[in-house]
Assembly symmetry: C2
Homo-oligomer: 190 residues x 2
């Protein structure tokens, strides 16, 4: 359900086309809410049908015409309602944990390279997030309008969280590797 709300969120900042939205997603929320191009276009159709967004057709000569979507008043209030509502019970899906859960079936020689891969992936993510934060931090500080600063703050909070969780994940993976190498299958309560 969140794709609808996320699109409304972006449209609340400025009018965008489906193409723009795909870039906006890939450049910001992609790491916790990846969006498929086809899905974006279909959701935009639906938002239009529901009256939460309206379409403005902008003709172009050399490139395909653009369909610029604007959030409507109904769209704005739908967004606010969603943001003010009580949180639904969280339900996360983490494929890596499913793998780990059943990894007792395979031996260390096959498992350790996979864990090393996961570590490398995590470290790459962490570095990317730290770069994004450093960059965005400066840009947000230049904002003078309080409303804009506030919006920027919350956007950055998600990057901050990503960093925190990647760090925790790296530490966890590292401890697993160490334990396997020491043939020490123990769990200590954190």
């Amino acid at each position: 359900m969140s794709l609808q709300q996320a699109i409304l969120g972006f449209l609340a900042l400025r009018p965008l086309t489906g193409y723009d939205l795909k870039k906006a997603f890939d450049g910001s929320v992609q790491h916790f809410w990846p969006a498929d191009q086809a899905q974006i276009y279909r959701t935009l159709n639906k938002l239009d049908e529901l009256g939460l967004a309206s379409v403005e057709l902008v003709e172009q000569e050399d490139k395909p015409d653009r369909k610029v979507y604007h959030i409507t008043e109904n769209g704005r209030s739908a967004l606010h309602t969603w943001l003010s509502d009580t949180l639904p019970p969280t339900s996360e899906r983490e494929p890596l944990l499913v793998r780990i859960f059943f990894s007792g079936f395979v031996d260390d020689e096959t498992l350790l390279p996979r864990l090393a891969e996961a570590m490398a992936q995590e470290k790459a993510y962490l570095a990317a997030m730290q770069a994004i934060l450093a960059n965005a931090q400066q840009q947000v500080e230049t904002l003078t309008e309080p409303a804009e600063r506030r919006i920027g703050f919350f956007q950055l909070l998600t990057v901050e969280r990503a960093i925190l969780h990647h760090q925790a994940q790296i530490a966890w993976l590292e401890s697993i590797i160490t334990r396997l190498e020491n043939q020490d299958l123990s769990i200590e309560t954190p």
Copy 2:
């Protein structure tokens, strides 16, 4: 795709019915891979079609007949292949982060109660996970077969991770609340 593999994982431990599987999911991997009852039954059909599991019909007098699923040799090797394969690029979906990302649109008075709710939820989860760990830890220690201990170890690792991440999440939420209360919209690189 992970539901198929997760079911195979459970069937590799012992033969189970769809009903049993639903309980097994709810009692263990539910927090990172919730499974819908309808989906479990449909996936079992598919595993049967694919020859990865076979059905044994057990008639009962007072209760409905049971369809006990057994993993086949093909099923076992499919499971091992999956567990040995390189990891696909992670793609997580976290609805809470989508909310936070756009929370700059609402004011503190509406937001703070939501954050408090999220905190309460996290703390409840944390307590539940700690209880599960304490309990399961003892049970795993009584296992004498190395293969069983190994399987138990990896299952517990996911609980350990859950605890670690819930702790990180609680600290993060706490810091957000503090910053909002102090009207300090700053981000410090972790």
